[in-house]
């Protein structure tokens, strides 16, 4: 096997593995949304501010998933390892 093929294949596997990190934000955002619905059920008049806080919380929970996505995209489109061969 030549080096280029090995590096590209390993990068593709790495990109796939990096996206496993999508699990965490998914669980977190689901939990956040569920809690927000509970809170709105208890206090329907505060639904505006609860929704705003929920969206901010979602955005923060999403950060780790976005980082993994950036790593995966780097491995796919701007692979730093191919330049080192």
């Amino acid at each position: 096997m030549d080096n280029l093929g090995f590096v590209m294949g390993a990068s593709a596997i790495g990109a796939g593995l990096a996206m496993i990190a999508g699990l965490g934000p998914g669980i977190g955002e689901g939990y956040c949304g569920g809690k927000a619905v509970e809170a709105i059920g208890r206090q329907p008049e505060a639904s505006g501010s609860i929704t705003r806080q929920m969206i901010i919380g979602d955005a923060l929970a999403e950060t780790t998933g976005i980082y993994s996505l950036v790593v995966a995209l780097l491995l796919m489109y701007a692979n730093p390892f191919i330049g080192r061969l």
Binding site: A12, I55, I56, A59, Y67, L69, V70, M76, I82
Partner: protein, 243 residues
Amino acid sequence: MLTETTLMAGEFTVEGPLRSIPLPFLEGILGEENACIAESVVTQWVVMVILGVVFFILGRNLKLKPETKRQAAAEWIVSFFVGNVETSMGTYYKKRYAPYIGALFCFCILSCLMGLFGLRNPTADVSVTGTWALITFVLVLWTKIRTGGFKGYLHSFIEPLPFMLPFNIIGDFANPISQAMRLFGNNLSGMVIGGLVYFALGSFAIAVPAVLSLYFDLFSAVIQSYIFCTLTMSYVAMADMSE
């Protein structure tokens, strides 16, 4: 290097994170490699022109009592942003930040919608979102120095305890990076997934990409623009040390 990585994705239509338009008439001055302009910059010019024309038309001939639908729409837009800024940041920042937040929100949404018209979405370019996050960083820095003084700003790094210094420094720089990456990652992932689906379906690409585009270019874009503006407001409001 780039051609090899593009090969990996076959005949895939999304050509990595940056696309540029060649400018043949500048080749004599800048050289052949530099004579090009990023497509996201051109799309932003289109967005600027559209926003400028729309808001110029909305803002003409205003009366004390609104008579036209045009003025009612303009007043609704302005009061929406002023109200939003007031609930997030308080009355002191209402008049100062509403124009910036409003401009940022409109620009961001319209940039994302450019994807629907076949132009490249400028927010799928990390240099664009990075610039906006840098503006937020400067605003936060200015707010800290304005409210706490330069000494207070330096002192905020060793609060609550001196050994927190490295964490506070990292935290200061992590905010703009994560803010830029969030908008960039969301919009680029929409583009990449859309391109992959087009590529996978080949000539059978009917209806399915439209649903994806509806989600990524409309729903996700509006939510992400809102989040970007909300985060900008809450970072600046949190930086206020006068309370």
